[in-house]
Amino acid sequence: MYLVASILFILGLKMLTRVKTARNGNRLSSTAMLLAVVATLLDMGQVDYTFIIAGIVLGSAIGAIMALKVEMTSMPEMVAMFNGFGGGASLLVAGSFLFENVFAGNLAFGGILPMDTTITLFISVLIGSVTLTGSLIAFGKLNGKISGQPILFPGNNILNLLLVVGILGSVVFVVGFNEDPNIAFTVSMTVIGLSCVLGVLLVTPIGGADMPVVISLLNSYSGLAASATGFVLGNNMLIICGALVGASGLILTQIMCKAMNRSLANVLFGGFGQADSGGGGGKNDDAYHSVKSCGPEEAAMIFESARDVIIVPGYGLAVAQAQHATKELADLLIKNGANVRYAIHPVAGRMPGHMNVLLAESNVPHEQLFDLDQINDDFQNADIALILGANDVVNPAATKDPDSPIHGMPVLKVWDSKTVFVVKRSLSPGFAAIPNDLFNYDNNMMLFGDAKKILTQLVHELKEMVD
């Protein structure tokens, strides 16, 4: 039965590769999960179900409520949270295993558990703890409870290294040289504590702009944690599932890093934004010398005659909940005979594919969505590039200014189109904390204000003109 469940998981994942089959794929995976749980319960035979039922009922209820209530805009927080729970579950399983098999008998490790089990147990503890606390920090950063700015103190990386060494040292000591049960207990708890601290310190130095990378990475960790648990329990299905998730998280991490032209190491240890602030962020005041702005009426006139419009959504759109207004504008433009497309930068939003979900929520057909590579050469033919709450992903400095910290990052070449409209609340910089020279360009117009409000006004004006 575990074999069947594993196969179903893989098939479910395979079906996720196509939009059409994705939903059934997800259902298949959930069936597999149910099967796995039932199989386990049968396998266990007659046991006391008090805790099991309580846990399942309560957990399901909490999970269901969270899933139904969450706004699509706060999906990244949700995923970060769930990553944390996954890691936490692995940590708890390992902890429970420790108590049941080791501490309950008041024993040390040597002799009771085979060496390999002990080692995988500690790997499980380590990854689980790091995922748990790291995810909580990521969650805090995403919903603004913790500053999105990188928090990096001198020696941060050295301290992390020391923590890793401390954890490894403790494990080697307790596995190899210790016979005293009390010390075994103390050291195990220390390992958990150190791992939790490590999780926090790994994420705090990472800036808000890099959150997509971190979430992907933590996603990968949560899979690896499940895998490690599988090793402890000698359960191949857990190993398989964990490996699948681990691989998926890792691939997404890679894609995100590539989209920002940074190496993973750079994201993890760079403290991006802070280190560069001297290079650009400080000059914010005099960076904008020839910014032009206009009102919705003026903009509507240009939109009215536009034949080819490319919309570039960014996180600002999500914050303003403007996805429906965007769709309304797009519909109006299409009715007016224009060709409307959306250009989605891989790191638009706060997690991989976030924009696509938001636009799908407002029923934008996914045929109108285009990736960076597909659409970038089309901007030169476009009449209008409408930028909604995006900043760093349309910064010309990335291609034109070799000194810019984001130089080399793939960006959308919106400035090639005839007119660029930027809907933005102010001239404040994006997450990378650098000014955007685009706003000075001759063909650029700023529409200052809340994206939803501006778009609604624009739709209103345009309607009057068309009718």
Partner: protein
């Protein structure tokens, strides 16, 4: 072969399968993929179930109970939210 060795084999092969499949997923589906994968990582539930087999108030059982709770939130929440998203993708056809 020792169980550990078999486990490592399985792990390595599964990673390859994962890579093969997931590189084919279009960016549009990255967020559902992530939340879906997240739900799958709740497979730890299987391990958690073993940890709370009796009704005794032992530390092991309480930790096991919490593990079930966490894993279940992950599983149910993850699958439901993924379904919600995918419904939106499919809904407009």
């Amino acid at each position: 072969m020792s169980p550990l060795l078999i486990g490592l084999y399985v792990f390595a092969l599964a990673v390859f399968v994962g890579f093969e499949i997931i590189t084919k997923i279009p960016p549009t589906l990255h967020t559902p993929l992530m939340s879906g994968a997240n739900a799958v990582s709740g497979i730890t539930i299987v391990g958690a179930l073993f940890c709370a087999r009796t009704a005794d108030m032992t530390t092991a059982n309480i930790l096991g109970f919490l593990a079930i709770l966490f894993a279940m939130i992950n599983v149910v929440g993850g699958f439901m939210v993924t379904d919600r998203m995918l419904k939106m993708f499919g809904g407009k056809k």
